[in-house]
């Protein structure tokens, strides 16, 4: 190799590279472009099929179990199911995740327990959704949780309902909300807290009046990501929600009867209408999958907006793998 005598240009030409390095360079480009192509193909194909098969009536007609596809209705109930389940899941996950993050960052005593909790969250994040689903079934079929779902004559608890599925869904969203809240809290400079203590505020008062308002954008980002995960999850719905076509209510108390009842979501509707399920109606599956994809993409855009708002308050920019 020749010793460089003049200062190199800002971007050296790759013509001077060894062949092995040039191949590696080309492979990097291929991987990057390939990634974009795959995403474009998936989104493009779903968009074409979705627009082709999606009719407005599908969105507000109830599904029914007809074999004839012109009579089997739309997917109003699955859409309502998705919304309901997402709200329940995120409603349970957010307070617990925020409390956990606050405790780990602001108190964290004893430190071994804080580290155990932190790795515990990581374990929950790594647990497959199907295992959570099957665990939820075993847990909520205990007599103790009989109020959450349908109970048969003999006292056997069915274990499948919006409440039980939502409770398990919250475990999927929890790591997302926790991670974002923790990052926000860690990004707040030490002197902000010290200023508050200096004014005579206690720790918890500082948390409630200073820190939590400051990390609100982070919490919303985490919640939006968590909602995206809940809306996109299938395994828990198939096992724990019963995946009945319509919202079947249970009991006589209005409101609570829907929560105790079973239903379906867009994901389970797609699954059941694909050739893998009983329905085998590819057109309905494509249309529902397109709506589902739109929901998930919209939640992702929400994340971008929230992150930008957070950046304006000078706290935290966006980060590429906001995932696990």
């Amino acid at each position: 190799m020749a010793v460089a005598t003049r200062p190199p240009k800002r971007h050296e030409s790759i013509a001077t590279w060894r062949w092995g390095d040039r191949v590696a360079f080309a492979l990097c480009w291929a991987a990057g472009i390939g990634l974009c192509l795959i995403a474009a193909l998936i989104v493009g194909y779903m968009a074409i099929r979705g627009i082709q098969y999606l009719k407005p009536t599908l969105l507000w007609s109830h599904p029914s179990g007809e074999v004839d596809q012109s009579k089997s209705g739309g997917f109003l109930d699955p859409i309502l199911g998705t919304v309901l389940l997402t709200i329940i899941g995120i409603g349970i996950a957010t307070p617990i995740a925020v409390a956990t993050a606050v405790w780990v960052v602001e108190y964290g005593r004893p430190s071994w327990l804080a580290r155990a909790v932190e790795s515990g969250i990581e374990v929950v994040a790594g647990t497959p959704d199907i295992v959570l689903a099957i665990f939820g079934l075993a847990l909520f079929q205990q007599g103790l949780f009989g109020w959450m779902s349908f109970t048969a004559e003999g006292g056997a608890v069915f274990g499948r309902s919006f409440l039980t599925a939502g409770a398990m869904m919250s475990l999927i969203a929890l790591p997302m909300v926790y991670g974002n809240t923790r990052e926000g809290l860690q990004a707040i400079p030490r002197h902000v807290r010290e200023a508050s203590y200096g004014l005579g505020k206690t720790r918890i008062a500082t948390i409630r009046r200073v820190l939590l308002p400051a990390v609100k954008p982070n919490i919303s980002t985490g919640a939006a990501l968590g909602m995206g995960r809940i809306a996109g999850d299938t395994a828990i719905v198939v096992v724990l929600l019963g995946a009945t076509l319509r919202l079947e209510s249970e009991g006589s108390v209005p409101g609570a009867n829907v929560l105790k009842g079973t239903g379906s979501t867009l994901t389970s509707y797609v699954y059941n209408n694909s050739p893998a399920g009983e329905g085998n109606a590819a057109e309905k599956a494509y249309a529902a999958a397109f709506v589902l994809l739109l929901v998930v993409v919209a939640l992702n855009f929400a994340v971008d907006l929230l992150a930008r708002r957070g950046a304006q308050t000078g706290l935290e920019g966006t980060r590429l793998g906001a995932g696990r």
Partner: protein, 322 residues
């Protein structure tokens, strides 16, 4: 009550309350292991550890259980082997792909392309698995079945297994696409976290950009690359819905000695088996077997999560938030 909440909270009590909520996570993990293990116990009592071994047709064994038999006899090897195959192949291909793509994002991509590719990675990570499965079963499976599997190949194994196109090949390809974004997210963060001066030092010594990246940054980010592989493995192990749609749902163990045909043979991993047998849980033998599958997955993912947590620790030294 509400009035008391509005008063300033005593600090000590607030700490205890928040701490108790935080420890609920640990309680849930313990409950998870206890409940799943308790339900799975009968299967292990009947079969012992040979439960994991080969022997007989796993589909007909489960079929007997569904029909109400109290016979717990099960040899789950084809399902375990299916999980190992799909996960192993997808992680191996995915790691190479993700590493190259991460280097591209961090080092080579022009700014305008980077502004596109970063949201693309996040989008791919967000696409629900059922959509991947739908594309797989409606597009890729028929394509492989009609154009790649030849009539001769179908004929040659027609008494053992049907080759419809739903195969190890399709399952691996889609699974790879699903886990690559997770790995890219972790690896890119780690590559950015490598102190700039290290790489500048290498460039000052006269190596080109690729060499600086490969010999300095990638090497410094090795813990994160291992962590990425571990976490992606955990995700691939637990993927149930997509695999149950495209893997062919046959309790068959593809044999690597079959040559290229091996890639076209159907299979069914553990997680997909759980989804498909979740409807017959009222039969006690099925219930116990399904929980045994779940227990196996749970222990694997527990182990992998902790391994990933430990693998990431060295990167925290230089302030990487991963």
């Amino acid at each position: 009550m509400l009035e008391r909440l509005r008063q300033p909270w005593p600090d000590r009590r607030a700490e205890l309350m928040l701490g108790a909520l935080a420890c609920a996570v640990l309680l849930i993990i313990v409950l998870m292991v206890v409940f799943v293990a308790r339900e799975a116990w009968p299967t292990f009592r009947h079969n012992g550890l040979s439960w994991l071994g080969p022997g007989g047709n796993v589909d007909s064994q489960i079929g007997t259980m569904v029909n109400g038999g109290r016979d717990f006899h099960l040899r789950a090897w084809p399902l375990v082997w299916g999980t190992v195959l799909t996960t192993g192949l997808a992680v191996a291909f995915g790691l190479v792909f993700a590493l190259l793509a991460s280097i591209f994002i961090v080092e080579f991509a022009p700014d305008r392309l980077r502004a596109i590719i970063v949201p693309v990675v996040r989008l791919l990570a967000a696409v629900p698995s059922v959509i991947f499965g739908l594309i797989g079963i409606l597009v890729l499976v028929p394509f492989v079945g009609n154009h790649i599997v030849t009539a001769g190949q179908k004929k040659s194994v027609e008494f053992v297994v049907q080759l419809s196109g739903a195969s190890l090949l399709v399952a691996t390809v889609i699974l790879t696409v699903m886990i690559v974004p997770i790995m890219i997210a972790i690896i890119v963060d780690a590559l950015y976290a490598v102190p700039r001066t290290w790489k500048e030092g290498a460039v000052a010594l006269g190596v080109n950009r690729w060499r600086a990246m490969w010999t300095v940054s990638v090497r410094a980010a090795r813990p994160a690359i291992i962590a990425a592989a571990v976490l992606a493995t955990a995700r691939a192990l637990g993927e149930a819905i997509m695999l149950s749609m495209v893997s062919g749902s046959v309790g068959f163990a593809p044999n690597p000695f079959d040559g290229p045909l091996f890639l076209l043979e159907p299979l069914r991993p553990l997680a997909a088996t759980i989804v498909e047998d979740a409807e017959s849980l009222q039969a006690p033998a099925v219930r116990s077997s399904v929980y045994a599958f779940a227990l196996l997955l749970l222990f694997s993912s527990l182990f992998l999560s902790l391994a990933g947590f430990l693998a990431k620790q060295p990167m925290k030294k230089y302030g990487a938030r991963i």
